[in-house]
Each structure stands twice: as structure tokens, then as C-alpha cells.
Symmetry: C2
Subunit: 319 residues, 2 copies
């Protein structure tokens, strides 16, 4: 069997009503939900959040546009505006995200669940595309994401790939890593390349040290699935956390981001954003050519005239 | 610099007039050209050739259709027909290929340069898409193919992936391998997936043993680039040689194929077949997201608050 094809395709069972984005935001606002958002509101776009003083907003926007694979801009608010009506009608940016990180002069000073007391009339907010959205697309297309099966998130790493700077913003690219079988790495590459609004194609696979990652066990932020099975490759995508690191390095007097893996949940259906036809879901997936083959056993040979053995392996088909 | 981006894009210098497919076939017919065809007639479709008695033709066609990634059918001749007018106006299948392999009862019995004396009125010929065509597409899209730079061909391997049988035809999938940097593996995956008529997406990358290849140094047929550099991954595509191996295993009384890497050269422009817009060539390439980044040095960090060092590496940018 082709690796990955054993994965159940299609929508996962709903998680206790948490797939309704408006209901989820209400639960977050009431303090009833404080978890990672990668397994809830799975059919709606989620976003990285960056809030900073208006005087830095234009440079930050330029930074996003120059590094659009890592930082695909979804929306920018007007100064002081606490909503983003293009993303969700009733959104309150100050209390509808599961957690916030407050940075002053490049130092993390607080991780509140509500930033109403910190809010200023010159704050501008940016929503930036997030890999949680393309993870949903990958799952629907049949890619097994083991970190999700294990209730985890993807690990992030700082690379030695330099972003294109803008004003005070610059620094290394941050990537997210997913442990995938080779067949799923191929499938995920083809699928993700179609969706630049969610980071697009991988930037690397297979050799972490080639992009400056010396130890997969030491992820940026300290969380996420970092161990590889023998049949898995590490596949790396540009990550929205690049913006957070750039803001830290810029040592702004004040900026506020979402807390790690606690994303801004929007009302935008992923299917609308990816331009999927009606009925997006099982069956929409484009099969890679491997799908017409089945695995049995054979041995490599040296010459065209030597026919390989074809006895099945003990225990049946290879996984 | 992103690996692969240093590669010169666009048409290679013409090789002594050998990029005209009709002229090349005339040179082959006269015995003036007997080399591998992967570096000549590079802008025109090349094909695997299979000639067999008519009684086996329908089963063979079914086998191709059931394993279309490895065996994308381009044309089938009528019994006894020595041309394939849909591929080339003046083609003589009996002497316009640089070499032939004659198999009887599954044994290679001759490798003539001309099969007119063997020709029978019940022979049916099949032209099957060949990776030489997608290699040209990959090059135009900026993928560096080191085996071509070194004047070599890609290596082939017999896998433990079983094809879908049809009649007497069946057996393991044969793959071709290209040694690619990670960035080029990603790019090549995205590009090749668009071209199912030339085998489509890779079937595997990174772990040869996972598809039954125990030793890269022992390729099927004994030729091709088999060594990997430290920054290269082996990337595997379904290969038309699958048909040759299936015909051997079927032990047909008689069948004739092209000699390895001496393909049937057609008059079909690759650009027409891939549906490329006018001006196919440099600039047509879709950039992967990596293109906006430049490499410098940084170190991975454990916490969001720790800014990585950014001093350039000695010697400048990483390749």
C-alpha cells in the first residue's frame, strides 16, 4: 500500500461544536476555550496576529509583502480599530484570541488573555495567513499529518535563510516542520504549492542542516512534534512566526502578537479562499501517479534480461 | 543563494545542428549519430519504443493504460505500418532509432542498428512518453540536472512496487532517479506533476530502500548517474523501461525495443505538448516562494525572545 493512502480522508468528526468559528470565538472570549486552535474551527481560515503602533505599520506591511511566502497578508486594520470586519463580523481583536504575547523593547513582558487595558488608539493589527489552514487542505487531500493525530502542533525552527528587510524589520526566516512519508511529502508539495495565501510550497525537505537547523529536537518556542520515524522526511514551510521574530529583533517599544498556536479564528471558509469547487472534500483530491500501483516484493537487478523475484513479503503488502 | 538558482536558465546552445529532429533522424538513419539522445533534439518529444506481434498488442496497450504514470501512451501503429505519421511525417521505425534490442522468449538476442530484415507484417509499434522530454521542461524551469551537465543519463532501478497487470504483462515498476538539491526536488515535483504525459510527479524521494532499492550504485541496465552529493536527494519517477521489463517477463516469442537511452525522436514540439504559452522558455518559470530569500548565517534558538546571530558566513553566501 502506498504510504499515506491508509489515512482516513475527509472531514474529521466535529470536536464538540468547536468547528463553528463564531462559537469558538465566543468560547475564547468567555475563557471557556484556551487550547491550541489547530484542531478546532478546522474549515475556516486562521491567522497570525501582529499588533503594533501605527508609526511602524507601513514598514511592517512592506516587510510582509517582501516575504510573502512566510507572511501572506490577509488583512490590516485601521488605527485603533478593534475589529477586522473583512475577516469576522463580530471580532474583537482585544479578547477573541486565546492568548497574547506582549513585547516591550524586544522582551516578552506578559502573556494575557485579554488586552483591553493595553489597547491604544494608534494600534494597527495585521492578520497573516497561517499553516493551520493549509494543514486542513492537506488532510482533505489525503496527506497524513502525524502531529495532528497525536494532538500536537508542528514544530518551528529558525533557519539561516535571511528574509528581505524593510525598515527596522528583518532577520532570519522561521519555518514550520512536518514529518511526512515520502509519498505524502510529494503530495503535500504539489498541493501546498497551489495555495500561496497559506505559505505555498515547502522551502526545504530532507536535510535540516542545509538551512541552518542543527538539532530538530530544539524547536523555536520549544513546542511541537520534532521526532521522525524511519520512513519520514522533515518537510519545511515558511512560517508566520517570522513576523514575531522580526518584531522582537526590531525592539519596538511595544507590540502584541497571538500566543503560540492560539490563532486568530476568522469566518472565512477555507474552501472559499482556496477556490475549491462545491463539494470540496473527499474525492476532490488529485491522485498522484503512485495511486495505481500496489507494493509487493521484488529485488533490484543489474541487467534488463534478469527478471526480479516477485514473491510477496512475509506479512503481506509493504506499508 | 538558493540551491539551483545559479543554474543558467533557458535554451542550451544548439549541439551542432542536432536539435532539428528530422535532421537527427536522417543522421541516425545514415549511421552518423549513434549516441544517447538526451542531449539532442531537446525541444521535441522523445519516446520509448515497443514493437511486438499484433496478437499481444491489445494486452500491452491495456497494460500501458493501467500504469499510465510509467507508460503514458503517445501513439500506436497499425499492424505492419513502418511509420507513425502522428509523430513524424517521414519516420521509418525500422532504422530511425539509434539502436534496437531484440528479445526472443525473454532473452536479449541482438542489438542491431536496423531491423528491416526482422520486420513482419504483424508488428505493432507503441511510442511511450519518455523522461527526456520532462527533463527539458525541468531545465527550462530552472532545475539543475547534474547528470546532463556531466553528459550522462539518469539511472534506472527496479522497485518493489508492483504494476497493475494486464494479460501476460506485469511485474515491478522501474523508476528513473535524478540527484537533486532539496530546492530543486521541490521545484521538480511541482513542475513534473503538471505533465502526466511525461510520467508526472515523482513516486518517491529520499529513501531508496523504502521502494526496494538496496544499492543506488547498481542501476538497472548498468548506466546512469548514481552518486549523490551531500546536498542532494535521490528523486524517483516512474519510467518507461517498465514496459521493457514487463515484455521480458512475459517471454514473448519476439519483441523489439529501442536500445537504452537511444529514443524514438519525434517532430512534436515539447512546448505544444505541455500547453506552454508562446515564448515558453526563460521567464515562464513559476518561482517557488524561496526565491525572495537570501541565505546568510544564523543560529537556531530556543525561545522567541532570543535573537539569532546574523553575521555572514566566512566566504559569503551559502550555496
Amino acid at each position: 500500500m502506498i504510504p499515506g493512502d491508509s489515512f482516513m480522508r475527509g472531514p474529521l468528526p466535529p470536536a464538540a461544536g468547536m468547528d463553528d468559528p463564531a462559537a469558538l470565538r465566543r468560547a475564547i472570549r468567555k475563557g471557556e476555550f484556551r487550547g491550541f486552535t489547530n484542531l478546532v474551527a478546522r474549515n475556516h481560515v486562521q491567522a497570525n496576529l501582529m499588533i503594533l503602533p501605527a508609526e511602524h505599520a507601513d514598514a511592517f506591511e512592506a516587510y510582509c509583502r517582501r516575504n510573502a511566502a512566510a507572511l501572506p497578508l490577509l488583512a490590516r486594520s485601521r488605527p485603533g480599530e478593534v475589529g477586522m470586519p473583512q475577516l469576522a463580523a463580530d471580532l474583537d481583536l482585544r479578547r477573541d484570541v486565546g492568548g497574547y504575547m506582549v513585547f516591550r523593547e524586544g522582551k516578552l513582558v506578559a502573556t494575557p488573555a485579554d488586552i483591553r487595558e493595553l489597547w491604544r488608539e494608534d494600534f494597527v493589527a495585521f492578520a497573516i495567513g497561517c499553516s493551520f489552514s493549509f494543514e486542513r487542505v492537506l488532510q482533505v487531500e489525503g496527506v497524513r499529518l502525524r502531529h495532528l493525530d497525536e494532538g500536537n502542533v508542528s514544530a518551528m525552527y529558525v533557519t539561516d535563510i535571511e528574509t528581505v528587510p524593510a525598515g527596522r524589520f528583518g532577520g532570519p526566516l522561521v519555518v514550520s516542520m512536518r514529518a511526512l512519508t515520502a509519498a505524502d511529502a510529494i503530495r503535500a508539495t504539489i498541493v501546498s504549492a497551489r495555495h500561496p495565501q497559506f505559505h505555498g510550497a515547502p522551502i526545504h525537505l530532507g536535510m535540516p542542516q542545509a538551512i541552518g537547523i542543527d538539532d530538530l529536537a530544539r524547536p523555536y518556542g520549544g513546542h511541537g512534534l520534532t521526532s521522525l520515524r524511519a520512513d519520514e522526511l522533515p518537510v519545511f514551510w515558511p512560517c508566520g512566526a517570522t513576523a514575531q521574530l522580526a518584531a522582537l529583533r526590531a525592539a519596538l517599544p511595544l507590540c502584541i502578537t497571538h500566543y503560540k498556536a492560539h490563532m486568530l479564528v476568522t469566518d472565512l471558509p477555507i474552501a472559499d479562499v482556496v477556490g475549491a469547487p462545491a463539494g470540496w472534500g473527499p474525492g476532490h483530491a488529485q491522485e498522484p501517479p503512485s495511486s495505481s500501483f500496489i507494493h509487493t516484493s521484488a529485488h533490484n537487478t543489474d541487467t534488463p534480461a534478469a527478471a526480479p523475484a516477485t514473491a510477496p513479503r512475509p506479512g503481506g503488502q509493504q506499508e
